[in-house]
Structure formats: structure tokens, C-alpha cells
Amino acid sequence: MSSQESYGSRLPYKFLVGLVTIVILFLEAPLIILVIQSFTAESYLAFPPPSYGIRWYKEVLTSEDWLNSISLSLIIAAVVTPLSLVLGTMAAFALDRGPKKLKHGLQTIMIAPMVLPHIVLGLGLFKMALQLDIDDSMLAYIPAHLTITIPFVIISVGASLQTFEVSLEEAARSLGASRFWAVWYITLPIIRPALIAGSIFSFIISFDEFIITFFLTTFQRTLPIEMFSTLMYQVKPSIAAVSTLTLAVTAFLTAMLILRGQVTSGDKVIK
């Protein structure tokens, strides 16, 4: 199963571990700094903070602006994530199971929104939303966010479907499961890690989206907009506190997803 035995006892394995430790340090350093910063008692950011306190958490948790924007962002991401997962997975299935000769062309089209600069996509969406009178509402944010999250689901699920053994699905169908239930009971559980990766990407991209949402909002403010407008004025430790809070929430959600994915279809089960 693992090549631990063949690599394990050797020098390169230790070398690999050393190398990865450095990479992990690089990945986590800014986050650690950020968490420490959020506990500063000063009114500006500096490292290490001269004094510590929970002043900025108090400020954030008692500020209606922050709470509203956090909840708005969470709601949008919570609506967008499952929708994007469903639509993206459907599309990935269509690309995988559809005619082979159309696959590459269609796939390129389906992931194209990912590469369009958001500011121009933002304007286009805004003009549409104005015409339909749905700007500054969920009816605009959700389709807009879906457009940029679905490509990520298509990519991660599509990659997984490519290696999926189709005979499993056929076995289920021969046992009396219709196409839908065969996919539901067999394919989806097996490609679960990809679904989870797609969900994580969708959630995070929606939660962090700034420019398109900036165009679409008037009175409502999502968290990135709130942070950006705060930052445009002053780099205050309150954003470190907000970030730590959202980091805690999203980290929890992500950890849950990773854990669930691992438990049910970890490598013990899949060769």
C-alpha cells in the first residue's frame, strides 16, 4: 500500500521529511503571526505585540458591522457551496460520460470563468443585475459566486472521475439500481475526497470573493468588503481578530470535511 517500507529506512525519507517541515513552516508562519497579532492590546499591528489582551475580539464581537458582514458572507458561502457542488459535479459527470470528442472543448468552456479577470466579470454581472433589479441581493451574489466556484468543482471532481472504475457503477446497475441510484450509492461515496476538495474550494472562494461582490453590493457588505474598506482607512488589529475568528470557523469546517472524507473512503478502502 504505502511505499513507506521502500523509502522509510533510507536517507531520502528523512530528507523529505525535513524539506516538508520547512514548507509547512512557510505555510503556517503568516497564520501564526496573525493569530498572535489578534491578541494585541495596541491599536496598531507590530510584532511581537508590546502587550496582549482581547480588546479587538470585544470590538469585533460587539460591532454590528463586523457581525453582519461575517454572517452575510457565511450565508452566501453556505448557500453557494452545496449548489456549486451539485452543479459542478453534474457538469463533471456530463464531461466524463459524454462524447469523448467533445470533452476537451466543453471542458475548456466550463472552466473559462475561472480565468476571466474578476473586475470585468464584475461589471458584466453588475449591468445584468441592474437590468433585472436584483443588485444588492442574494439573487445576484449567488449566481455570481457560483460562476467562479463551479470550475473548481469541475476540475477536482473531473480528475477523480477519470480514475473511477466505471464497472462499479455498472455492477450496481445490474443489481437493480437505476443510473441515479448507482451514482448516489456507489460513485459519489467513492469520489468523496474530490467532492470534499470541491466543497472546500467553493466555500473558501465564495467566502473570500471581493471584486465581483463589490460591484453587486450597495448597502450589504460581505466580510472581504468590510475588511477592505477598513483596511483602506487603517490597518487595525481588528482585522487580525476577525481573521482569526473566521480562520477558526473555516478551519473547523475544513477539518470536519477532511476527517469525514478520510474516515469513509480513506486509503484502507481504496487501493
Binding site: 458591522d65 457581525l67 461589471l123 441592474l130 441581493s137 442574494m138 448597502f219 477592505f228 482607512y233
Partner: protein, 359 residues
């Protein structure tokens, strides 16, 4: 339906628990599927506001007193930065739905608005307070307000003697400790011209040659006031061209900063508070403009640190030092800018600027 009403916000904040409950309640209501701004109501004014202490100032001194006095409601739209996003507002106005009733425009934006017919001409008869305003402060699109100066901010402990010329930026002693403004690159270019040519125009190869000389000294090109502030706080820079209001505020927070008006000239800018074409409530917007340019609200702005065109406002010595514009001696060095040129050469200057950056 959720309206963001600032009236009882910042002053009496709710407790943590209440807010958390509120957030929970918010999630369970279907408010977000409905647009937040309902059809126009003659008693509701939609206004832009800023973040931070300036935003608090607006709420406290320019918005809430008006709300009380005229018994109306007001919705705030928080700006990201100090500029109205005309790239967005243009689309709204063309669709007949500007998001606000009053919009503060930078002077180049006024020209853009004029050319694209984005702002309505104000009815001067509905603004009798213009009588107390300097003529320079009156435009056909509305009054100019919030005067600010663009000079040199420096760290008093690390820059000695106090600078009097833009050329100090080129001083090798401060190499690697200065920055210039990317966000308002037109002002940076004009500043370079002032330092070496005595006049802000024309922006040409010469200008960029001087900028190239400065290049090794530059730590960064900052985009907004917050960036520059962070550069000062982190000790990355000791001086930069900057605006006076922010220096006043930072000095108040204990930073050893001072604002200098170089002898080659400095810039004074203000914003025109106009009414977008198709605004939902132009009458009330006129009322507010008339009220806000009065001596009372204008005096408050002077106390905060920005200048006014209202003749009746008296300045204390400290206020005068902060706002700069009330001192005729200093104002002799103020340079007038050609905003048509700034707007029309925007692309060309940006191209030259980008070439300079990537050379």
C-alpha cells in the same frame, strides 16, 4: 427587510450575546433575497460614508443632526477608500438607478461626470447658504467641501532639519527610507515637476528621469493612506508626500509626524458634493447640501482637520495650523492643478509611469 440604519449604532452598542443572537436571527430571515434599498421614499436619504474616524465624524456631525432636525431616515453606503467608484456608479446612473442621493467627487471625477452627464446641475436657489461661501467653493454641480492639502509628511525625530523642499526626497541620506504615492500618481508626477521645473506641467521624459533618480531611494509605491501609515508605523519610511488630515490624526495618536508645505509649491484639493442624475430624492439632497455647508457643520469639519469654503467659520491657531488653507501666507505656495489635463492625460501618464516601473 433589513435596513442599515446608523442612527442608533455606534453610540449604544449591543452586548456580545445580543449581537450573536442578532446574527443568528439574520440568518434565519429571508431578508437577503430582497433588495435592501426599497423604492424611493421622500423621507429617506441614501448617502456614502467612510470607514474609520472620518466615517464616525460624518455620522456624528453631518448625518445624525440632519436626521434629527428634518425627521428623516438615512441609509449609509460605506466607501472602500476615499473615492466614489465611478466605474460602478456610471452603470447605475445609465440604468437610472444611482445608489445614492449625494456623491462626493474628486475634481477629476467631476470632469468625467460632466462629460458623461452623470451629475445633475444643482438649483442654486435651493441652496441659500451659498451666500456665505467663497465663490471658489461653488460649482454648478454643488459645493466644494473638505479641503485637504498634499505636502510632505516626515518623521520629526529622524528627519532633521525640518524639510522645506520636495528635493529632500532625493537626499541620499534618506535613501531606502522614502516612498511616493502610486494611488494618486498624477500628484506624484506633478510633485516631481514642481521640485525640478517649478511648474507641475508638462509631464514628460524629463519628469521620469528625475523619478528614475529617485527610484533607488524608494521603499515602495503606496496605494492608499492606510498603506503609507503602515509604512511609517513599521519604520519602513521616514517621509513621503502625504495629505494633512492623516498627519494630524497620526500625530494625535502619538506618532512623531509633521506636515510640511514645500516652498516649490503644494496642492490643495477638495471634493464636489454633487447629486447624481436620476437620484431618488434630489429635494432632500439639496436640503442636506444647504444645511451642511452652513457654518455649524463646517466648523466641525475644521475641528476634525479639513478646511472649508465657508467664510463665517472661525479657526483657532491649532486648527489653522492643521487645515493649512486658512493661512494666506502659506496659501501663496498653493499650486492650482489642471484637472482636464490630469483626466485626459491619465492613460498616457499611466503608460509612462508603468514603463518607468518596469524598466
Amino acid at each position: 427587510m433589513k435596513k442599515i440604519d446608523k442612527k442608533n449604532n455606534n453610540l449604544n452598542r449591543r452586548t456580545v450575546i445580543k449581537s450573536a443572537l442578532g446574527a443568528g436571527a439574520l440568518m434565519s430571515t429571508p431578508y437577503f433575497f430582497v433588495k435592501a434599498n426599497a423604492a424611493s421614499d421622500p423621507k429617506v436619504l441614501n448617502m456614502y460614508n467612510f470607514d474609520g474616524s472620518l466615517g464616525e465624524f460624518y455620522t456624528k456631525h453631518w448625518y445624525n443632526p440632519f436626521i434629527e432636525k428634518f425627521d428623516i431616515k438615512m441609509n449609509h453606503i460605506k466607501l472602500k477608500g476615499s473615492r466614489v467608484p465611478l466605474e460602478k456608479v456610471q452603470a447605475q446612473i445609465n440604468a437610472g438607478k444611482p445608489e445614492t442621493d449625494v456623491m462626493p467627487m474628486h475634481q477629476d471625477q467631476v470632469i468625467f461626470a460632466q462629460r458623461n452627464n452623470l451629475a445633475m446641475e444643482v438649483d442654486a436657489s435651493a441652496i441659500p447658504e451659498f451666500a456665505n461661501y467663497y465663490d471658489k467653493g461653488v460649482t454648478k454641480y454643488g459645493p466644494k467641501m473638505v479641503l485637504w492639502c498634499y505636502g510632505l509628511a516626515y518623521n520629526t525625530e529622524l528627519v532633521k532639519p525640518a524639510p522645506t523642499s520636495w528635493k529632500v526626497l532625493w537626499d541620499p541620506e534618506y535613501a531606502g527610507k522614502v516612498a511616493v504615492n502610486e494611488g494618486l500618481k498624477d500628484q506624484t508626477l506633478q510633485m516631481v515637476n514642481l521640485a525640478f521645473k517649478g511648474s507641475p506641467y508638462p509631464v514628460d521624459a524629463q519628469t521620469f528621469k528625475h523619478l528614475s533618480d529617485l527610484r533607488p531611494s524608494l521603499v515602495a509605491l503606496w496605494s492608499g493612506g492606510a498603506d503609507a501609515e503602515q509604512l511609517f508605523r513599521n519604520g519602513e519610511i521616514v517621509m513621503t508626500p502625504f495629505w494633512n488630515g492623516r498627519v494630524t490624526k497620526l500625530r494625535g495618536e502619538g506618532l512623531p509626524l509633521k506636515f510640511a508645505t514645500p516652498k516649490e509649491g503644494f496642492f490643495v484639493r477638495s471634493s464636489v458634493y454633487g447629486i447624481p442624475r436620476g437620484a431618488a430624492n434630489p429635494e432632500l439632497a439639496h436640503e442636506w447640501l444647504n444645511w451642511v455647508i452652513g457654518a455649524g457643520p463646517q466648523k466641525k469639519m475644521v475641528e476634525y482637520g479639513y478646511g472649508t469654503f465657508n467664510k463665517q467659520v472661525e479657526h483657532t491657531a491649532e486648527e489653522a495650523a492643521n487645515v493649512i488653507v486658512s493661512d494666506p501666507e502659506v496659501m501663496k505656495y498653493a499650486v492650482s492643478e489642471d484637472f482636464n489635463q490630469i483626466l485626459d492625460n491619465g492613460k498616457e501618464w499611466t503608460d509612462m509611469w508603468n514603463k518607468w516601473k518596469s524598466s
